[in-house]
Structure formats: structure tokens, C-alpha cells
Amino acid sequence: MSRGTEKAEKNYFRFANLLLFFPKFLSGPVERSNHFLPQLQNAGKFKLKKVLSGVSFLIWGAFKKFVIANNLSIVVNQLYTDVYSHSGIEILLVFLIQLIYIYYDFSGYTDMALGSAKILGIDIIDNFKRPLLAKSVTDFWKRWHISLSSWCNDFIFIPFIVKFRKLGNTAAIIGTFITFFIIGIWHGANLTFIILGVLQGLAIVYEFFTKRIRIKTAGKISTSFSNLLSRIFVYLYISFSIIFFYSASMKDAGYFISKLFSGQGNFNEAFGTINNLPLFLLAIGSFIVHTFYELNIEKGNNLKSKFFKQPVFVRIAGFTILITLIILFGNGDLNFYYARF
């Protein structure tokens, strides 16, 4: 409003609806008033197409949450509850899957929020754009928790660098660290979350200043190989930084890191500790299939819109398979990891 780009909402109930709209109340997305409020005029009117779209989001979100995330959560949460009683290989296994777990937990929640809102006639903004395919940490933050990162960009980073632009790149560096420091402590007043934020700031500043040399180096190898290497590196870097997201204390995080590459223990033993191995493998298999789907979308092959152009019986069959998998193999735990923040 102070920038003159938005008008004040004087209707208390409309304003309360913006703040308390239940699909997004638990853990976002962080909705902008100029996107949400105009939609209230037509909300609540029954539109079959929108309702069906909402139901499809709900089913897809439920599959992500109950079949993928929840079948991985047991392994991740069990380890972080008492990291000291697990072997190096168990820690390595959790290190490799913990980003998948939080992605499917949070994006599953978001899809269900989007679906519930659509049924009520409201489109809320999506929070994810295939983040596990990011080719840099900067790129990752344009794809992960988009509503929070874009809010921080628009209301913290940009005003800061505009105010201190005379400092040049120094303002950009300080602004980046302040922004990610705030994103870190937004998760909780704990040193672990500050480290999480600082690690993001370090990577983004590094990427900014090395862009020229990285582009030159990437030009010497094939694009597909360079993309693959970049994606693996970003995946591992984010996986490393979220050790500080999951760990209850710096001591826990330190122990996790010290054991990560110790090689202590063996894979048979590690897999033996997984309560339900077939469901764990189903979750990993679903993740792999979904990643190929996302790679296709990334390359411009929109499989989603192709699916929705199929005859109605094909679409019904597709969703019946998803619902069957949710009923047979879903873990119905309704605790969303991000709801605690």
C-alpha cells in the first residue's frame, strides 16, 4: 500500500478471509492480497470444471503425502529422534532421502491446499516448480517454497538493495545474507536454522560471482552431462544444508555430519532397520517415476495436459489407480512436517 500498488481492504470479513482461509492457514502458500481478494467476488459459485480440477489436485496431493512422504518419514524421523543410536550407513541412507521426504510432504500438503481452495472457487499460488531439478542453489530457491522466497525477495531483499544501492555488490551480498538469515529464523529461533540460512546465502553469493567461469566450464562438456552434474550437486548441497533443518541441536547436526561418510555399518543392516521395506521401496519407485514425469515437463513435454485431454475413462482409470494405491499402501499420518513452523 505504501508503494501505491495496492488498495486497502476495508471490509473486515474479506480481510479476515485473506488471513484465515483454511486451505492455506496451516502452512501456506503465502498468498498476496492482490491475487486473493479479487477472487472473493466469484468464490463459492459452483463450477464443475474447477471442482473436478480441485479434486484431482486433492488426490494427487494425497498420493504424494500418504504414499511417498509418509512411507519415507518413518525412516527419517526415527533417525533424527535419536541420531546417536544409528550407524554411518543408516545416516547416509537418510541423508540421501531426506530432501525427497520434505519435498513430497510439503508439496503434497500444498497440492491438497490448492485442491481444497479450487473446490471453493479460489486459485491460490503454487509453492513448487520442480525444485529437485534445479541446476543451481539460486535456481532451487526460485522453485522451492516460492511464495515465501518471492515474498522475502519483494519485501526484504529488493527494498534493502534499493536503499543501499550506492554500496554496489556489497549491498547485494549483505542483502542476501539478511534475507536468508530471516528465512532461517522464520523456521525457529535456533542456531541450526541460522546455519541453514547462512549456507543458502553462501551458495547464492558464490554462484553470483562465479557465473562467468561456471558457464565457460559448462560449455566444455555436453549440456545434458553438465545439467546432470549440476542437479546432483545441488541435490547434495541442499541435502547437506537440511541436516540443520531436521536436527534438534547443533550437537545432533555435528554428530550426523561426523558419521555421514564414516562408512560404519552396512547396507543390509541399514535396510533391515526399515520397518516396512516394500512400502519404502514403493515410495522410492514412485519418486523415480515422478521425477521422469517432471523431467518431461521441464523439457516442454506437458504430460499433465496430455493426460487431461485423454478420454474420460482413461482419466478415471488414472485416478482410480492413484486412489487404490493410497488406500492399499498409504500411511494415513496427517502430521505435516512443515506445519510446525
Binding site: G4, D139, K142, N153, A171, A172, K211
Partner: protein, 83 residues
Amino acid sequence: MKTTVEIKEDLKQFILETTFAPADQVQDDTLIFEQGIFDSLGFISLITFIEKKFNINPKDSELLEDNFESINAMTRFIESKLN
């Protein structure tokens, strides 16, 4: 005073030099932030370049990413400050 075409050419040249993006990817209507050609960290260099090159002094409140989203948007903004 520079013509619209000259302003656009100056802006394009700066964007290509700063981002190393292929020339065919940067058109007048390309959304440079949305397409990932420019990122927020580079925004400061873009503002500084425009202030110095065109000798304009925009207010802080005018320095919104929306005014810099494409070469066309920047040209409109620069021309509005020059006139």
C-alpha cells in the same frame, strides 16, 4: 536525447554482457527475471547501469522489479523519467 531504439540497444548490450545469455534469448519483451536470465542479485547492477547511462535519478519507490521486467518495460520507465 537517445531514441527508443538506442535505449533498447544499450539495455540489450548490458544484459548480454552481464548475464552471458545467448543473444537470441533476450528479446525486447523477454521477461528477464521470470525467465531466469537476470536474478535479484543482478538487479542492483541493472539499476546502477540505468542511473549512470541515462543520467536519471529514480525514487526508491519506483525501483520495482515490475519496471525492469523486460527491455520494453525498462525503456518505458527510462523514457518516462527523461521526458
